[in-house]
């Protein structure tokens, strides 16, 4: 029972909500106490009827008492529920918020390591389980203890301790049996769940591999194999049902045994003159009040066990700290945003990813970085935005090492359009204005025009109000990329970084965007990382990376003349353009 520890872990919350819990628990105990009254009144009336001595006045008084108890119970029941379950709802909300806030604090390194599904599970299932612990868990704990003791004490003191002992004899059997069923059920349910997830995988596989199955003509046999698996799932569920179906009959059987014992032995006690019929009737009513606390105890164990495991996971999650944190002495102002990078070496793990990479991006100038996949281009972008820190070498902005600059300031100065164009399920306007929610529509349109996506947007059914993402329209990769560019333009950063952000945009549009950039803000400096060389043609300097080293650097006009990677790639891409056009140069 050391699982109860979870209540200790949640002590902070109980302290915070102590008033609600205190009220709820007092009311719960009040209900438990009130519940003891009706059986006594009923017994009294039965006795009076039996003795044929019932006075109408007494009857009305007793019935009035029953009514008062009934109404009192109703009100108290309503409120304890409201207090205790209300607190559990609040706990769920608090944990969810804590987790969400925590997620916003964690850096990209963390997200690269984690699976979205796991993170989601913390905020959904685990929060749910903990919240249940603080609600139903507390309820079952308090209720089963108070109700159980109250009822037994009343039985012993007001009726007969002998009868109580005899009647309660079978109940431990019930506890033992239901606990045993609980374990069996847990195991079998686990097996059934595993079979179900296997079935899930099977469906996933059949749907993904539908081409293979159809082309080999094996769909029918695949359906057969699904049937086999599905039969298995059914058989395993039947095994669960076999245990599940035991509960009701067992409880009925054992409680019935208690009844017959109390009535039989009670009859004997009546014969002995120790009891009245009314007392037996009261006694059986008390007995029925005991069933619930007995069952609740088994439940409690399950709830608390789940709650503890879940709360441990949540606590572990909240304990994760972002790896890159602001230096307390970090700069909060920059004189200018010129970038000077002097990276001697950088590695994620063992192998160096960058070696001797140096460059400057002066105000209003454009730097292009090209090279094949895996040559280190994106790593440079990651270092500039401090997703990772360089330890061997320095990167300066405005003359200050970026490790001594407040990260929020750095991000204000440097805007990145990443490779993967992520849009939120929101309107296009809101997506573009994501970094500047107060922006006006004409500002948004201005950015969209620069990113060459304005006309695409206007063609959509609801223009800028069109919803994108899961529930909205599907945009092409190129359109998404251009919206990402517009989004980055909105924040008017001093440095704009395009990390291969034009890959899905056709050549003509790319040219137009680059042209807009050149004609635009003369103070903004740019870093363009690209696969297609046309994107960096106009750059003031181009770096060619290979295996993390700069193998060529210079301007386009010079690089196409010197033999090497740049020229080879340039020639190939020219040819590719011709092939794409169907063998002719396209105008």
């Amino acid at each position: 029972m050391f699982q109860i520890r979870v209540f200790k872990q949640l002590a902070w919350f109980f302290k915070l909500e102590w008033r609600t819990y205190a009220l709820g628990i007092v009311l719960l105990m009040f209900v438990a106490a009130l519940e003891l009254v009706p059986p006594r009144i009923i017994g009294r009336i039965v006795d009076e009827i039996n003795r044929e001595s019932l006075e109408t006045d007494l009857l009305w008084m007793l019935l009035g008492g029953l009514a008062a108890v009934g109404i009192g119970n109703y009100v108290a029941r309503f409120f304890w529920r409201y207090f205790i379950f209300g607190a559990s709802i609040r706990l769920g909300r608090m944990l969810r918020s804590q987790l969400y806030r925590h997620f916003t604090d964690l850096d990209q390194r963390f997200y690269k390591k984690s699976r979205v599904g796991d993170l989601m599970a913390h905020a959904t299932n685990d929060v749910q389980a903990v919240s249940t612990t603080a609600g139903a868990g507390i309820l079952t704990l308090v209720d089963s203890i108070t109700m159980g003791t109250f009822v037994i004490i009343t039985m012993v003191t007001t009726i007969s301790w002998k009868l109580t002992v005899v009647a309660l004899l079978p109940l431990p059997i019930m506890v033992a049996l239901t606990t045993r069923y609980g374990k069996l059920l847990h195991n079998r349910f686990g097996v059934a769940q595993a079979a179900f997830s296997e079935l899930n995988d099977k469906v996933q596989e059949s749907v993904s591999g539908v081409r293979v199955l159809k082309s080999t003509g094996e769909v029918g046999r695949d359906v057969d194999s699904f049937e086999k698996l599905s039969d298995e799932v059914m058989a395993k569920n039947v095994r669960v049902a076999k245990i599940d179906a035991l509960y009701d009959p067992t409880i009925f059987g054992i409680v019935g045994l208690s009844y017959i014992l109390s009535i039989g032995y009670g009859a004997y006690l009546i014969e002995q003159g120790e009891l009245t019929i009314g007392q037996i009737v009261s006694f059986t009513a008390y007995l029925s009040l005991l069933t619930w606390p007995m069952l609740a105890f088994g439940w409690l164990f399950n709830i608390v066990e789940r709650g503890r495991a879940s709360y441990d996971r949540i606590e572990r999650m909240l304990a994760v700290k972002p790896e890159i944190q602001d230096d307390p002495m970090a700069a909060t102002k920059l004189a200018h945003s010129e970038i000077e990078a002097d990276i001697h070496a950088f590695r994620y793990d063992e192998t160096p990813v960058l070696q001797d990479v140096t460059f400057r991006i002066e105000r209003g100038r454009t730097l292009g970085i090209v090279g094949r996949t895996g040559s280190g281009k994106t790593t440079i972008v990651r270092l500039l935005t401090r997703e990772y820190d360089v330890h061997d070498g320095t990167i300066k902005i405005g003359g200050i090492n970026i490790r001594q600059v407040k990260k929020s300031l750095l991000l204000d100065k440097v805007a990145v359009v990443p490779q993967d164009h992520f849009l939120f399920s929101d309107s296009i306007a809101n997506n573009i204005a994501f970094g500047k929610p107060e922006a006006k529509l004409d500002e948004i349109m201005e950015a969209a025009k620069i990113a060459e996506v304005h006309e695409d947007i206007m063609r959509l059914p609801e223009g800028y109000a069109t919803l994108v993402g899961e529930r909205g329209v599907t945009l092409s990769g190129g359109q998404k990329q251009r919206i990402s560019i517009a989004r980055a333009l909105m924040i008017e950063a001093d440095v704009l970084i395009l990390d291969d952000a034009l890959s899905a945009v056709d050549a003509k549009t790319e040219e137009a965007i680059i042209e807009h950039f050149r004609a635009g803000n003369p103070d903004q400096s740019r870093l363009i990382v690209a696969h297609r060389l046309s994107a960096v043609e106009h750059a003031d300097e181009i770096l060619v990376l290979e295996d993390g080293r700069i193998i060529q650097r210079g301007r386009h006009q010079d690089l196409i003349r010197e033999p090497g990677w740049y020229k080879d790639t340039y020639d190939r891409q020219q040819l590719e353009a011709i092939v794409e056009g169907g063998g002719h140069h396209e105008a």
Binding site: I49, S215, V223, D244, V281, F424
Partner: protein, 587 residues
């Protein structure tokens, strides 16, 4: 009210599934009736005991023993029949779910590929497994609860009538009261429950999206704003849950308990008043109290299952929607039977469009004579894959004709077409299971020898033998542990094991490791021998010996001929060739 009509249609359709199980269902009903009868007889016997023996205080041994024996027999049979009815209902429910699952799986797997292109795999998986699982809850939990509760209610009333018709008639007042409570509860709970569910899915949606787009959120420093948005939804969700909680606290258990209290007051009042004028048997009072308590439990059970019920109906509706989507794969649609003999493939003026708007193939005509190889080359989107999709009869085409050995492909039986036309896919899909399983692909007519033979033929044998378990090696992670070349060889073996007359090859775009490349080439050559082959080639070097090369551009054949003649033409093919040989030189 339209909503209700739909709900009814779904329920009716779900009930229709029970037709197949009318016999076991009748048996389950018999068990249920026996169990209910035996259970309800208990209080009646106790009444007899109290009134006949306890009140007068005489205990004729044989009568008491008889009564005890009868009670115990009934008690034990109640336990047994209760178990039997519960397990029978659950078994039937699970079987029905199994039927529904098979129906939808078979139906989905029989759909045309266009359907799979359009519908995300996740959606299909969720319909086939999760939604049917929700339907399972409906059958196992809800429907059996409804049936059991209804029978128990009815049975209890019958016993009340036997005991005291006047009072039982008065008790009928409860029926409209119950109905009213359920009606009011349902009216609000449907709404509140839907609100809670919607807000929860909104909450999870926001969380999921934020986790996925956290990079962007942090880059644009919108953490605070998103936290605020999340808090808003979280707050709204909390409010909705409060409303739900209040409703449940007001109208579920507390009100049922209150009603019970007042019913007992009415009962005692009736007998109390009666006892002042005539003799009342206390046993009847006892029995009445026991019965009346039993009336309330089923009502509560039903109410607590209502929301679950609504959820399940929504799921069932989604399942039925898919079952009603009728888009069968194009199959045999012409009269007469035909066999594939020599394997001559002919396209005559074939025009095809996926969406009925844009033609992706325009007037395609060519002939592949028996044993010849026809290669399809062209840029992405040129229509190569569409030609394959038509020849494999995956998509119906709009005009022209495709024939094999002079018969339109619509004339072949599915089995004949799949057996004689072998397709090797670009990215060979490997299923969970052993290598042997993957080569057999559920087909029992292919034995282990044939598997080995095929693997040896395509030279996959060498690497398979090196694996610890050989052909018994379990393929992990969809075959990610194999190189792309090895996966390709396995796909070859899978096709060769079926010994098709016509071979359709969709060459892998991804580069294959040089080690296996050679083996792949050799295997291709061997496979093509004696088979008519239609091959999509990405690397022109692999098809230099093709009898006919078709160069496609935007759905049209722009050049045709053999390798040499095409090079001489100095057109698109030549450009492509240069591009690729250049690329080769560089790498």
């Amino acid at each position: 009210m339209k909503h209700d009509v739909q709900e009814w249609a779904v329920i009716k359709r779900l009930l229709a599934y029970t037709n197949r199980y009318s016999r076991p269902l009748s048996l389950a009903f018999v068990f249920l009736l026996l169990a209910t009868g035996a259970k309800l007889a208990g209080p009646f016997l106790i009444k007899v005991f109290i009134d006949e023996f306890v009140t007068p205080g005489v205990y004729p041994t044989n009568w008491v023993v008889t009564l005890l024996v009868v009670y115990l027999v009934l008690h034990v049979s109640a336990i047994i029949f209760d178990y039997l009815q519960s397990i029978s209902f659950q078994k039937i429910a699970l079987k029905i779910v199994q039927n529904i699952r098979m129906d939808i799986f078979r139906h989905v797997m029989g759909m045309r590929l266009a359907y799979f292109d359009r519908t995300p795999a996740g959606v299909l998986v969720s319909r086939i497994t999760n939604d049917t699982e929700a339907v399972k809850e409906l059958y196992v939990g809800v429907m059996s609860t409804f049936v059991q509760s209804a029978v128990q209610l009815l049975g209890t009333y019958i016993f009340l009538y036997i005991l005291e018709p006047t009072l039982a008639t008065m008790g009928l007042v409860l029926v409209p009261l119950f109905w009213l409570i359920i009606w009011v509860y349902r009216r609000y709970s449907t709404k509140y429950f839907a609100q809670v569910r919607d807000l929860l899915s909104q909450l999870n949606g926001q969380l999921n999206e934020s986790i996925n787009g956290m990079g962007i959120v942090q880059q644009f420093r919108q953490e605070e704003r998103l936290v605020r948005q999340f808090e808003e939804t979280n707050e709204a969700h909390q409010q909705a849950r409060y409303r739900n909680l209040k409703l449940d606290s007001m109208l579920l258990r507390p009100i049922i308990e209150l009603l019970l209290a007042f019913s007992i007051i009415g009962l005692l009042g009736y007998y109390g008043v009666l006892s002042t004028t005539e003799q009342v048997q206390v046993g009847v009072v006892y029995a009445f109290i026991s019965y009346i308590e039993r009336i309330f439990r089923p009502v509560l059970d039903i109410m607590q299952r209502l929301s679950e019920f609504q959820q399940a109906v929504v799921s069932a509706d989604r399942v039925f929607k898919i079952l009603d989507t009728d888009e069968p794969a194009p199959g045999k649609s012409l009269e007469g039977t035909a066999d594939i003999g020599s394997g001559e493939v002919r396209f005559e003026n074939v025009t095809f469009s996926y969406d009925g708007e844009v033609d992706v193939l325009k007037h395609i005509s060519f002939v592949a004579k028996p044993g010849e190889t026809v290669a399809l080359v062209g840029h992405t989107g040129s229509g190569k894959s569409s030609i394959i999709n038509l020849l494999t009869r995956f998509y119906p085409y709009q005009s022209g004709q495709i024939t094999i050995d002079g018969h339109p492909i619509e004339q072949f039986e599915e089995a004949e077409l799949r057996a004689k036309v072998g397709l090797v896919l670009q990215d060979p899909f490997l299923f969970t299971g052993t290598i042997e399983d993957n080569l057999k692909l559920f087909n029992p007519t292919i034995d282990s020898d044939k598997v080995r033979e095929a693997a040896e033929f395509v030279q996959a044998h060498t690497f398979v033998e090196k694996l610890e378990a050989g052909y018994g090696h379990t393929v992990g992670e969809r075959g990610a542990t194999f190189s792309s070349g090895e996966r390709q060889l396995l796909a070859f073996a899978r096709t060769v094991a079926r010994d098709p007359k016509i071979l359709i090859l969709d060459e892998a775009t991804s580069s294959i490791d040089t080690e296996t490349e050679e083996r792949v080439q050799l295997a291709l050559e061997r496979m093509r021998r004696g088979r008519t082959t239609i091959a999509i080639a990405h690397r022109l070097s692999t098809i230099q010996d093709a009898d006919l090369i078709l160069v496609l551009h935007r759905g049209e054949i722009v050049e045709r001929g053999n390798h040499q003649s095409l090079l001489n033409q100095d057109g698109l093919y030549k450009k492509m060739y240069e591009l690729q040989s250049g690329q080769r030189l560089m790498s």
